[in-house]
Symmetry: D5
Subunit: 165 residues, 10 copies
């Protein structure tokens, strides 16, 4: 199997590009895609994103989270540098934790039309309590719709130890 | 998707409010809710609460626990600062570990009418033995009723290592 | 929901009682129970017991284990201080690891008639090998009988790392 | 060397005593001592106390900490059950973290006249920041005075990893 | 339930016996059994064996592994000291990792006729790569045959982190 | 069961051979196989490979990953030293993470015709985000085809903690 | 020793105050102090701050760090909520890691005139490499000047394990 | 250098001896020694003993500890199986934690006349607090006397994290 | 204190520059410096570099290491992206572990004339043994010369646990 | 600085050599050396060796240890593959743990005439107790003689946690 050709890479505009102007207000339009070369077999891609920050819609204080995104690509895949820029665009955005996580999933569904996707945020505590929202989605009318339901039903039966330190 | 508007936030009275008078006796009335903006898709929200304390009903000695709450919201969601105040109200409350955990679940069911909820307490040892109660619930007549049963059946098959240090 | 009343607590004789005389020979009669106030919903209670010791029936040498007990109460619950005394009564008892774990389960079934119970012992090594017995039980003729079988079938598919240090 | 005799134990009033009435307001008078039987050699005793709670003097909210106390006894030693009761007496006490830790040290100096003592508190975060005060003391005019200074000078050169989870 | 009697223990010849002559060449005949006293209920017994060593059949270099054995006993159980001696007998034995793990399982099946058994080896790396073979077995014509298949199908879906340090 | 004979080992040309010339450009032809001696029972073999490196197809910068490969052998098994050489051949190869992982799986399917195989790569972060692709395969027309689908459906429901440190 | 009185607390304006307007541009003027009540004994106070973020002065991309601050107070102590606001003011500030850490120390020296202070930043990686600057200071003409030198000389002789995951 | 000869080993009576009768009451006479073959160079020997148990002198309840012993041998060394038997003899012995640790040190000084020795006990919690005594000794009139003082002065400046779980 | 100005940043050519051509043969000339703005106080800067790879000079096989570099800057500081490129230039370089670590230190001394520097490499195992070289340097005729000697004398007295997994 | 030349490597006979015949009886003559190219600066080299095994001189049972060797080379360095073979030669050697560790150090002193060396063995438990011997050496008449004494004096003041699992 040959390497990714220049032609295949020509739509990747952000990766390795130094002239980028970063946006710090919510903007899903920065997201870029490339073609899935392995459409013959379903597979998972996970992004580990421990450097997410937004602000509280009520108090204006910064919030911090690690976000885990897992998806099964259809025709399109999300380019990771553009995903980084998309996360930057939450830096001045005010919303509840639960809302941010749902928005991220919906934006990626719109972008990618994935077979399956899930987004899990693990925020740092405020007032001694931390909040971890999790949402997922399977493409309607496919077996992944049922998979999404099953994964939701059996979500996180072993909560990680949290001691606020 | 727009940020949470001021109108949407107007019922959140405790968050960012400095004039709060804390209650140290059991009082579920402090709990507040806000509307679930994502009722189109089921999803999980988890609260990690490592700063729970109550007192032993027999000896009057303080007990300490980390409490994990996971729920699938229906129309309402619990606001996390009010949850904090609710936990404060156990500070002088005397009850067995098993009773506290069931009470917390029942109070949140009354408040939220959630699709699904589970509450897991992990207490520190007394006399060399620690106790971890776990209870859950799925809304009657929905698929979540069966999910609750399944999650209970397969609960905690990998107990975490505990050595009292 | 009110705290545990004095009336409800009157059968708890060992908790907070200083005049106890400890037994160091196997004696299941020390176990005490109290009433389950939440019989409307099934739930789990786990005891973490890292301070168990018995002796080898052949060589007379002490053995050490951490024992994890999980059960779903029926009408009765085991009081944790009496459980501690019951464990003390193994201090001079000689039996194989596998026998101790089965005995503990059978004694608790006799005491509590629980819906479900499991007992897992993790012993320290002798001759470079450590032994971890696990047994469980579901009340005959209920759904918990099948649950017990399922939990046994899928027991411990991820053995914890053990390096004898 | 013989076991502790009954005569030696007669001043230990709290240990194993069930009639104790707990105080939840600051009260150093609950502390009890017993005689150091090994005055011929200096040695350390450390107490690990992960169940400390007080309240914020400004907002009235509960604070939580793990407190580590190390001391070199002179003639007297502090009995650990009375130390537990002393910690209970902070449950409704309002003071800054730094003040609590200094008070604990000063109370124990008054009680024990130890050769050396140090107290280290590790609190859970508020607003994303946690605070860890540490103070120590060596008996004036002895080599322990210089030891206290040295231990302070080289205190905590390897801060533990803290990520608020 | 009484302790193991002397009569029950009379076939255990190796445990506590100091005159043993160790074999360092593969010899399954050293394995000893004792009777399962709990044939009324199926249960698991796991052996953690972090001190296994054999040699490479091609290069003659030593290999090292931690071996985990889990089984559900039928009428017979394997005595752990004899298991230790059996492992010693691999010390000069040359075989691939995959072959050793299958041999161990087959020898124990021959010895015990267990209802179920599985053997998992985790070897140290050679050339930067480590190898972990896993095999299992359920008694033909029983429900354990299907259990073995299921456990194989869902084996190790969460590989432990390995970084060769 | 006898050790691997010289005859059985005669096709293993790389193991213990010092005259090897390493290739640093992608070359699946270096892979070698040997016969599976345990075709009577299905079992898993896992390779832990924390020393994988390739280069970014767009920027030319090195990428690093730990790769976990699990398979159920048919008639043939892959020799681990040749697997090492195969991984070396990615050292100057430029491709996206997702492409590398799929290629590795496809090369091993071609080589081994395994009953089942899965490949999981865990790469280090670029721009604060790390990517973990996972793909799998079951032999068409066998029960392993369905197993592959099930394992994909329930893949990685507990993402490991990642904090980029 | 009495609790902090209202009079002692009257200069603490930010703690518990909900009307605060957050600044996201570097502003050391938000820092507030309160009086050290324990000037009779030197002691350490440490702040653990895992939620620090600034931006790269060259590329404009966000940087993330955990910052540990330890100081020995003189007459003044820094109030932790104002420290939080001060850290918020770096959110849009562009500077190298090494410059941020030195600035924080210098601002706190100006504010507090501490006997001793040290600031340690641990940033997340860029391009596979992470940077951890550390600076410290002891008040000139006191023993703490020498202590600062000694602590610098023996700084971090056991670097924590970092693997970028 | 030759192996230990039979003559050198003839005083080792307990190691490998199956006829031993265990004592469960404090008895330092079970300790055995052998000759130090490396008297030309000072060196450390540490014993890690996580299976220590005694009883509380006041309440009769069992206590559990991990004990670490480090010593620099003079002419004699303590044989580890006899050390095990010595620890067994505490099984029914009632004494405070601090007394046990000092007794163990004094018994080993009497037995071995070591150049240096230290004993550190880490007990499990009672009432939420655990106690860790540490004592040490250097042979009078040698440099080890000063070493003992220095090691005591700088003892345990980094207390391990303890959370009672 | 103002942010780094454009003038101050003008010599930083690699950071954010996309047109870079990577070298995979040893080339210290890629290293770039910038001015130390805090020459008034000595401080440490550490680089954590877990993605180092070179090749064995004898066998041609790849080697992997995590490299930790700590230095006290004089007038110049090393820019981290150029450090990354410098490490890339070892990718095809053949040398022993001990030689690589010494070379890196010497190259950085030539580049920076630092007050102090140390380089610690932690390689993955070959043949079951891993090698960790450490070297350091203090500027001649300054106090840092003696510091270097002291840090070497007390290097790594607590070796991290290594088990090759 | 150039790579190691072929001339420099010509005395390295074992590395990459496939015709080696392994010895399983103690034989220090297999050790090989190469020249230290950095004699201008003292530095440390550490070997992590988690795959050590010998046999008990009294019972003939295998012992297992992780051995850490750190040394400061003089003119000669030990080649790591020959070190591996040397460790293999203990495979059938019978000696006490303390003797093995001292022998290894003495053999390496004879071979290398190092400036400094230390050897630390951490063995797995027998009878619930594990033994960790540590010895060291500094070249007589140099500053390293005093360093050896200091490192011995301050050896292992923070024993690692050991729980035999
Ligand atoms: Ca908080
Ligand atoms: Ca934590
Ligand atoms: Ca307790
Ligand atoms: Ca623990
Ligand atoms: Ca053992
Ligand atoms: Ca372990
Ligand atoms: Ca917080
Ligand atoms: Ca943490
Ligand atoms: Ca590892
Ligand atoms: Ca991490
Ligand atoms: Ca990065
Ligand atoms: Ca890490
Ligand atoms: Ca703990
Ligand atoms: Ca290797
Ligand atoms: Ca490891
Ligand atoms: Ca352990």
């Amino acid at each position: 199997m040959s390497e990714r050709s220049e032609k295949e890479l020509k739509d990747i505009k952000l990766l390795g590009n130094q002239g980028i102007k970063y946006k710090y207000d919510y903007d899903p339009s920065v997201l870029e895609t490339f073609e899935n070369k392995h459409q013959g077999n379903d597979y998972f891609v996970k992004f580990n994103c421990p450097e997410f920050t937004s602000v509280c819609p009520k108090t204006g204080q910064p919030d911090f989270a690690t976000i885990y995104i897992s998806y099964v690509p259809g025709k399109l895949m999300v380019e990771s540098k553009s995903l980084k820029l998309y996360f930057f665009s939450f830096r001045n955005h005010g919303d509840f934790h639960e809302d941010c996580i749902n928005m991220i999933m919906k934006d990626l569904i719109n972008l990618l039309d994935p077979k399956y996707i899930e987004v899990w945020g693990k925020f740092t505590p405020r007032g001694g309590i931390s909040i971890d929202p999790y949402c997922n989605y399977g493409r309607k009318g496919t077996k992944w719709e049922e998979v999404a339901e099953k994964r939701l039903f059996y979500h996180d039966m072993y909560p990680e130890k949290v001691d606020n330190r």
